[in-house]
Symmetry: C2
Subunit: 328 residues, 2 copies
């Protein structure tokens, strides 16, 4: 008997560099074994970490050619012989691990079932694909690490961005008072998401605004999505014993003496895949307590355009890459 090797379409990168490195390729269709499942990808998304990997920043993990993409919403097509939690046809969403294994810029994605969760029923694959990495990052930072709680104040940098727009919603759900920075064109968006005090970072000094508004006390929690000087400066807006979460890989020149004198806790957050988190997020989404925030939807063939938009900045929520536009 003859075995047919099936191929699928994938968007690969064949080099590290600018957005020219994307190439539409044919790869072998993976075959799920053991506790793996094969998911038909309906939607994935572009995240800043994709751009960083594309540029070679995670070169210790990713070997060429590589497939980016760390969000999936899709339908189970096949299951390994030891799976127990899902069946063919289930709608699922999850975050592929960022560890060098193939991402989801492809028609199908192979994943171990332990980090997969049922997709929220009340939203489309397009909307669902915006949650796992971006909302998961905000979750790790605010719920698991800084443990923000009722009555506290938080500064969220870039509140209109892919991660920030979920961070505002989570902080509000926890009962916190939210300061956020954004440009004036996004005031409407962050206000709708629940931000209490909006700071136009182009016109205002955020430290000055916060210190004035808090009677020079500062905020309890800072969520840094920007790094560098913004993170360093933020320490001046922090209360003693404040918790700062940074999701930026290479922040340098932090004012160490200030961190010490203020007894700051600095949490470095590199988002992790975790089913429990997605299960809880799904409950919140289905209760309409947590809403998708979508900047734009593009076909996978325009991955390069998605990366350009991310790198240009000023994105409002998530950029989704949709593989089945006729269905979602």
């Amino acid at each position: 008997m003859q075995t047919l090797t099936k191929t699928i379409k994938a968007m690969t990168i064949t080099d590290f560099g600018n957005t020219n490195v994307f190439k539409e390729s044919e790869i072998s269709k993976p075959d799920p074994k053991g506790k793996e499942i094969l998911v038909k990808v309906h939607a994935t998304s572009a995240n800043p970490v994709d751009c960083k990997i594309r540029k070679g920043m995670f070169g210790e993990m990713f070997k060429l050619p590589a497939i980016l993409g760390f969000d999936v919403s899709g339908v189970i097509e096949a299951v390994g012989e030891k799976t127990s939690d899902f069946k063919i046809g289930d709608e699922v969403y999850y975050m592929p691990r960022i560890n060098g294994t193939p991402g989801a810029y492809a028609e199908y994605h192979l994943i171990e079932e332990s980090i997969v969760s049922k997709k929220p029923k009340n939203i489309s694959h397009t909307d669902a694909a915006g949650f796992p990495l971006a909302c998961g990052t905000a979750w790790d930072a605010l719920i698991d690490r800084t443990k923000i709680k009722i009555g506290e104040t938080i500064l969220i940098h870039a509140g209109a961005g892919g991660v920030g727009s979920y961070a505002i919603q989570l902080a509000k759900l926890c009962g916190a008072y939210v300061y956020t920075t954004c440009s004036s064109k996004n005031f409407d968006l962050v206000k709708k998401l629940g931000a209490d005090k909006i700071i136009d970072y182009k016109k205002e000094d955020f430290v000055e605004t916060i210190m004035k508004d808090t009677n020079n006390k500062g905020v309890d929690v800072i969520f840094d999505t920007v790094g560098g000087e913004t993170l360093a400066k933020s320490i001046d807006a922090a209360k003693p014993f404040a918790r700062i979460a940074s999701i930026v890989r290479d922040s340098r020149d932090l004012p160490m003496a200030s961190l010490y004198m203020k007894n700051i806790s600095l949490h470095f957050v590199f988002v992790q895949s975790n089913r429990y988190k997605l299960d809880t997020m799904r409950d919140l989404i289905e209760r309409e307590q947590l809403k998708p925030v979508i900047d734009s939807v593009l076909p996978l063939s325009e991955a390069a355009v998605a990366h350009q938009k991310l790198e240009k900045g000023g994105v409002r929520g998530k950029i989704i890459l949709n593989l089945t536009p006729q269905m979602d």
Copy 2:
């Protein structure tokens, strides 16, 4: 009627610099008002922070002439009219605030009652004066900030030192497994305090030893009392999601990408005065679960010698400055 101005002896610093800056002086005896109490100092101690202030590192707080000394064990001599928690004759111990107000290198010390605690009954003033700042620092780092718990592993740098020797005891009381670095002459001491695995930092690479011993997992918690390269290198011995507490003011050049990839929480710890902490510490001391570790006892007139010993390094526990040798 004539008012006599009473004077007391104090060891002041008249300049920032080396150990020559100490001067035996006469100062006015303070008069407690409101919620203040006046304590006859039986013993105080020399801590690394005294050396740093003496050198001018906290120049934004301390103006000259200044009185150092941030440990007190003594007896209440007088109380302000609004005090309610203590009476004349009570034996107390506490940590004067490090905020520019006078320290305790003096015959008497004025303090607000809110941060004062009853001295443990079963130990001398000499032994009690070793606890508030040093054990309080280990307490802030391990109990309040990194929240070490049963079954975890911890690396304690300089376990034979003033702070490290209390950190070992606290970590063991919490049920942790303790790795500690020290020089071979202090193996006996840290072993007696409860250290499980002792690393001779002069002969062994502590990262190598720990990674081998933990099957390349690393430790859950790191307590850094050294800073600089030691802190930077320690990150290689940390588990993903490890908590690191550093009590060093000016550590630079941390490997930020490693902190991020490992999801490290970095707690900067500048010890705070707090009665509750001293109350709990007293319970542990009186139950003989927590023991004094004393390197040496000197008269206050030899404060300069105490600083020289601290700066030379290799101290085993605390250096106490005793003002009433005939009594303790």
